[in-house]
C-alpha cells in the first residue's frame, strides 16, 4: 500500500522534528501518529504544486505549534513555565543520553520562542535550506535568515554566560 511506504519514508523525520519541539517521547509519538492520520484524510486536498515532503512538514509543524499553544492555554502557563517543564524533562529523562554540554545546548534552545526554535531546529539539526523552510513555514527567506541569526545569537549568549564556549 502506497500510504505505508509514505509512512516508512517520512515517519522518522516527522517524529524527530516533533520530538525536538515537544521533548517528551509519548507526546511526540502521539503527535506523529496524528500527523499521519491527518495526512491520510486530507490526501485528496493535497496540491501537487507543493512538494509532498513540504506539505507533510507543514502539517507536522502546525501540529507542534498547536500542541504547545494548547498546553499553555490548558494550564494557563506563561511561556517560561513551559520551557521549564520541557527543560526538566530533558534533565530527568532516562532517554536523554547527552552529556552536560549537550544538555546545556538543549536548555538554551528551549529558551527560544516556539517559532524561532522551530526555525533553529530545521536549520541546525535538519539541515534544511532556507528555501525549503520558506515553503514549509510560509515565511520569507529573509525573515528566516534573520530569525536563525537571532536564535544563534541568543544561544551563544546563553552558553557564554555559562562558560561553555
Amino acid at each position: 500500500m502506497a500510504f505505508n511506504l509514505l509512512i516508512r519514508k517520512y515517519q522518522k523525520r516527522v517524529y524527530w522534528l516533533i520530538r525536538k519541539m515537544v521533548i517528551d517521547h509519548d507526546d511526540a509519538n502521539d503527535l506523529s501518529q496524528e500527523v499521519f492520520v491527518k495526512i491520510w484524510f486530507h490526501l485528496d486536498g493535497f496540491r501537487e504544486e507543493a512538494g509532498l515532503f513540504t506539505w507533510i512538514y507543514r502539517v507536522a509543524t502546525n501540529e507542534c505549534l498547536h500542541f504547545l499553544k494548547k498546553k499553555r492555554q490548558r494550564f494557563f502557563l506563561p511561556i517560561g513555565d513551559v520551557e521549564g517543564e520541557l527543560g526538566r524533562k530533558i534533565q530527568m529523562s532516562s532517554h536523554f543520553t547527552g552529556d552536560e554540554i549537550q544538555q546545556k545546548l538543549q536548555q538554551a534552545i528551549l529558551k527560544l520562542p516556539d517559532k524561532q526554535r522551530l526555525v533553529f531546529n530545521m536549520k541546525y539539526f535538519e539541515d534544511l535550506t532556507y528555501e525549503q523552510m520558506s515553503e514549509i513555514l510560509g515565511t520569507s527567506v529573509g525573515a528566516l535568515k534573520a530569525s536563525y541569526f537571532h536564535a544563534v545569537q541568543k544561544i551563544t549568549d546563553k552558553l557564554e554566560k555559562e562558560n561553555l564556549r
Binding site: R8, Q33, V37, F41, H95, G98, I101, Q102, L105
Partner: protein, 171 residues
C-alpha cells in the same frame, strides 16, 4: 641647536608564558572534541541524544493504521456538495416565509380602512362582542369575600402611627 637624542629602541619581547603551547594545544583539542561531538554525533543524528527502541517505528506504523480504521471518516464533511446545503436552506426560507406571511399581513392590516368599509351596525356588533369577551374573562368576586380576607383594622398602620412623631413628618 641640536635635536635631543632619542632613547635607544627597546628590544621587542617575544617571550611566552611557561607552558603556553601545551595549554594552547589542550584548549584546541578540547574545542575540536566539543565541535566533533556536537556536529557529527548529535547534530544530524538525534538518536545519539535520544535513543529510541528499535521497534518504535513499526509500532508507530501500526498505531497510525489503527487510528485511521477507528476514526470516523471526515470525508462526508467535505464531499457533501455545498450547493445541496444552499438549496435546502433556500427552500426552508421560502417555506417559512410563505407560512408566516399571511399572519403578519393580518396583524399589520389597515384597521382604519376596515372600519371605514364596515357599516355602523357591524362595528356596533363587533364592539358588543368584544365587550362581552372582556366581561366574560373577568372573575366575579362574591360579596363579603374581600372583608373576610382583609382584617378590619390594619395593625401595621396603627404601629406606624405610634412610632411617628409630628416632627418626623415636618421638614
Amino acid at each position: 641647536m641640536k635635536a635631543p637624542k632619542l632613547p635607544p629602541k627597546s628590544e621587542p619581547d617575544f617571550s611566552l608564558p611557561e607552558g603556553y603551547f601545551e595549554q594552547f594545544s589542550d584548549h584546541l583539542n578540547n574545542r575540536i572534541e566539543i565541535l566533533e561531538k556536537w556536529k557529527n554525533q548529535t547534530r544530524l543524528n538525534p538518536e545519539a541524544l535520544w535513543p529510541v527502541n528499535s521497534g518504535l517505528w513499526l509500532k508507530m506504523e501500526e498505531g497510525i493504521r489503527s487510528r485511521i480504521q477507528q476514526s470516523p471518516s471526515p470525508v462526508w464533511k467535505f464531499n457533501f456538495p455545498s450547493w445541496v446545503l444552499a438549496s435546502v436552506s433556500c427552500v426552508l426560507l421560502v417555506i417559512g416565509f410563505w407560512y408566516y406571511y399571511p399572519i403578519r399581513n393580518q396583524d399589520l392590516g389597515d384597521w382604519n380602512q376596515i372600519i371605514a368599509q364596515s357599516s355602523e351596525s357591524e362595528c356596533a356588533a363587533y364592539l358588543e362582542e368584544d365587550d362581552d369577551w372582556v366581561k366574560g374573562g373577568a372573575v366575579a368576586i362574591p360579596d363579603g369575600v374581600l372583608e373576610s380576607v382583609l382584617p378590619e383594622a390594619l395593625p401595621l398602620e396603627d404601629g406606624l402611627m405610634e412610632d411617628l412623631e409630628l416632627e418626623d413628618l415636618s421638614y
